[in-house]
């Protein structure tokens, strides 16, 4: 039953992931006479086949697919199971002539469905250079042999004649991101270059400019890049011939016409690295998996302790080694650390350092030192296993009797006690109760008052009606529009807006209206505020229609409006 569950679980995990197909050339540039690999990868399924015959391209010969190589892995990360399956093929592409070629997408049958990949045809440039070898260079430097687990550096130096006006360059490395059986390591900050170069027309990498030097009678402008790898399994690593392309712009492009560039090429030799297995002979039981030349150092945060105190011992391992990949020593298992209790370990990996902090509790007052921390490594140069260790750290541990006195002193300081008595006679003002009758009166009176006011107000109409809201905002609107008015006619329009809002009519009804007639119709007197209004309207008309349209004082208009509101005219 358990197996059935596991099987169902695995099946569901695989089904949950969509298959991914990747078809790409190892490099988009190859020299005539060379071979370039076409890599086909299908992930998250085993049910994949390449449809034959392969597409034919005039000038290229596509070999028989080699494979499939099937890789499966099953990992559990933070309680989540991940099942990963990869199916791979390799197809050798041999050019028959120089030129630019397009390889159509391949057909694959994945989970019963036919898939074309990649989306667009792959481009391949086949070169036949004769000039570049003298005017540029590319040298790849790798070790001939390394041990399994040993980090190594692939160093590429390249450049061109400084007399050439080169304005673009790139590298074509067939082995880039395609080496099997290696782990690419993070570069340390010192190894990172100050410039960038495009690799395989796909991505950029850091390069470091070098000093110019003479080569074949020409002064070369040179660059270098370094990449660190770690060999993860025995075997051979093949680095096919790489190409350095450097170009001189002959003619600048205009509009959509691209630049016309004359490219030159320099090529490196192919290389092979032999990865040797770690020898079984002489391998100690405590070997941690460390491979390389390692140095160990240590530091502590304190040396003078009391029994029961914690001390942090930080051990750093540096050097040319697989620093991030070995198991650091477990101090709990070392007899030399029996006088300590290990209460915590913090493990950190950096590009050029492995740092482990051990939190130790001194459990024995007779301890004189923190002992050496040993680490067994395999040295690839001497081809032997070696034990490296930190130097012991002298410490002093005070016995527990002394510390009890200290705790007592501390307890005396930290003890709690009641707050002192209050000696001042309380003379503060005492809040008198409101009285329950008042409270009940208020509780009843407030809603009653609301109901009365509301009823009275609603008799004159809904105060929230648009008309009522316009009427309320008339004065504010007048002040705002007068602020913006620059002429008497604009002031007249602002006043008409105010009057329209107050009277419930449209603004235009008040333009040119005889105010005296309107007042008479409303049964309003023409004295008091109305007289000031009539005079204001006359002055505005005169300026707007018979004068130079100069504005009146804003304050006068606002004062008349206020009088009309106070006098109940509007």
């Amino acid at each position: 039953m358990l197996r059935l569950f596991v099987l169902l679980f695995l099946v569901s995990a695989v089904l949950a992931q969509e298959p991914e197909v990747n078809v790409e050339l190892a490099t988009p540039l190859v020299r005539l006479g060379g071979t370039v690999r076409l890599n086909v990868t299908v992930e998250n399924t085993r049910d994949a086949h390449i449809q034959t015959p392969l597409p034919s391209v005039d000038g290229l010969r596509l070999g028989v697919p080699r494979g499939p190589n099937i890789n499966q892995s099953f990992t559990i990360i933070q309680g989540r199971a991940q099942h990963h399956t990869t199916v791979e093929w390799t197809i050798d592409v041999r050019p028959m002539r120089a030129g630019d070629f397009e390889i159509p997408p391949l057909s694959l049958i994945v989970n019963g469905k036919t898939i074309q990949a990649p989306d667009k045809p792959m481009t391949l440039r086949v070169i036949e250079d004769t000039e570049g070898a003298e005017q540029g260079f590319l040298e790849i430097e790798v070790p001939e042999k390394v041990y399994e687990g040993q980090p190594f550096t692939v160093r590429a130096r390249f450049g061109f004649d400084q007399d050439l006006p080169v304005d673009r360059h790139g590298l074509y490395l067939p082995w880039w991101k395609a080496l099997r059986g290696v782990i690419e390591l993070e570069s340390s900050a010192l190894d990172r270059g100050r410039d960038r170069i495009v690799v395989n027309d796909r991505e950029e990498t850091d390069i470091e400019p070098l000093d110019r030097f003479e080569r074949g009678g020409s002064v070369m402008r040179a660059f270098e890049f370094k990449h660190r790898y770690l060999a993860s399994r025995p075997g051979k690593l093949e680095l096919d011939a790489s190409t350095y392309q450097f170009g001189v712009t002959v003619e600048r492009g205009i509009g959509f016409r691209p630049d016309r560039v004359r490219y030159r090429y320099a090529q490196s030799k192919p290389h092979t690295i032999e990865v040797l297995p770690i020898p079984e002979e002489g391998r100690p039981f405590e070997w941690s998996g460390a491979v390389g030349m390692i140095e160990a150092s240590r530091r502590v945060d304190r040396r003078d302790l009391r029994e029961g105190d914690t001390v942090s011992l930080t051990v750093s391992w540096t050097g040319d080694a697989n620093l991030a990949f070995f198991d650091p020593p477990d101090l709990k298992r070392l007899d030399s650390f029996s006088g300590f209790r290990v209460v915590g370990t913090t493990d950190q990996s950096f590009a050029d350092e492995r740092r482990v902090r051990y939190d130790l509790v001194a459990a024995d007052p007779d301890l004189q030192e923190i002992p050496a921390v040993p680490l067994w490594t395999f040295n690839p140069e001497s081809e032997r296993f070696e034990r490296i260790e930190t130097r012991p750290v002298p410490i002093r541990v005070a016995p527990v009797e002394d510390t009890i006195v200290g705790f007592e002193e501390q307890a005396e300081i930290d003890a709690v006690d009641i707050a002192d008595i209050h000696t001042q006679v309380a003379t503060g003002r005492v809040l008198r109760p409101v009285g329950t009758r008042w409270l009940f009166s208020m509780a009843l009176g407030v809603p009653l008052l609301w109901w009365i006011v509301r009823t009275l107000v609603r008799r004159r109409g809904d105060p929230d009606a648009p008309q009522a809201r316009r009427r309320r905002t008339a004065r504010r609107c007048l002040a705002r529009e007068l602020q913006a008015a620059r002429s008497a006619s604009e002031q007249e329009a602002a006043l008409a807006c105010f009057l329209g809002r107050r009277s419930g009519e449209s603004d235009t009804a008040w333009l040119g209206r005889d105010i005296e007639t309107w007042l008479a119709e409303q049964g309003q007197p023409t004295t008091g505020p109305a007289a000031a209004w009539i005079e204001l309207a006359r002055d505005l008309d005169q300026r707007a229609w018979a004068g130079d349209d100069q504005p009146l004082e804003r304050e006068r208009i606002l004062a008349v409006a206020d009088q009309l509101l106070r006098g109940g005219v509007l």
Partner: protein, 256 residues
């Protein structure tokens, strides 16, 4: 003026008594200090002064290691001035020393109770009045202007009034109660009659609060756990130390 001059000796006497109590306390004569403060308490009128005296009496009880009595005095002080930080601190220390659980356990019930009782009865009434005043203004706004916003504000005012009424309602619900604290170490027996040989009906734990029901010389009738019981007067402590014990809240009079 004459009346003020007549009151002056009283005030002077009280002040002298208080000074003497403080001096006795500083001289670690806690019994004398307590006697002087108790005498002062009998004549003190204002709630803050009575709370101060209760608090000081709590301290003198604490210093004499009468932790349960100290708990009673601090609780009495907090009933008069509920937001006195020193009294709360000392109460918790005294409860801890007496082996009782904290007065404010920090759970929802204890926190709610502390919030409700954080105001005196008068303060709770004024809070409710303020809430009603704000509601009145919001209702007036609604009556004059109308509209959705005004209506929502008015409803908000109603909610505010209900919230502000909570402390007052809590005080009302406890009106007329005279709580007593059991201060007998190890608890005491609740008997059916005020006699030592009467049947023991229940056991009252030390620190338990019971309600006063009746009184006879040497005995107090209490109500605890739904039962009417008699306990010895010395076993319980009067928590209500207002000027007129028993008349804690009289809703009809409107006086504290």
């Amino acid at each position: 003026m004459i009346a003020w001059l007549m009151l002056l000796p009283l005030w002077w006497g009280a002040s002298l008594s208080s000074d003497a109590a403080v001096e006795a306390y500083r001289a670690k004569d806690y019994a004398t200090a307590a006697a002087l403060w108790e005498a002062e308490l009998a004549g003190a009128e204002s709630a803050p002064e009575r709370a101060r005296l209760c608090y000081n009496l709590g301290n003198s009880a604490y210093r004499r290691e009468r932790f349960l009595e100290a708990v009673g005095w601090y609780t009495a002080a907090l009933r008069l001035t509920p937001r006195d930080g020193d009294a709360w601190r000392n109460l918790e220390l005294a409860r801890s020393a007496a082996g009782l659980e904290p007065a404010d356990r920090g759970d929802l019930e204890a926190t709610s109770l502390r919030l409700l009782s954080a105001l005196t009865f008068a303060e709770a009434q004024w809070l409710l009045m303020a809430g009603l005043g704000i509601l009145g203004l919001l209702l007036l706004f609604e009556a004059l202007r109308g509209g959705r916003v005004a209506r929502r504000l008015a409803w908000g005012g109603v909610v505010l009034v209900l919230l502000s009424a909570a402390p007052w309602l809590w005080h009302l619900s406890h009106a007329g109660e005279r709580p007593l604290l059991v201060i007998q170490k190890g608890g005491t027996q609740g008997r059916s009659e005020p006699r030592s040989d009467a049947t023991a009906l229940a056991r009252l734990d030390s620190g338990q609060v019971v309600l006063w029901r009746d009184e006879l010389p040497g005995w107090v009738g209490v109500r605890a756990d739904g039962k009417d019981l008699w306990v010895r007067s010395s076993a319980v402590f009067e928590l209500d130390r207002r000027a007129e014990p028993g008349g804690t809240v009289d809703p009809s009079s409107g006086e504290d």
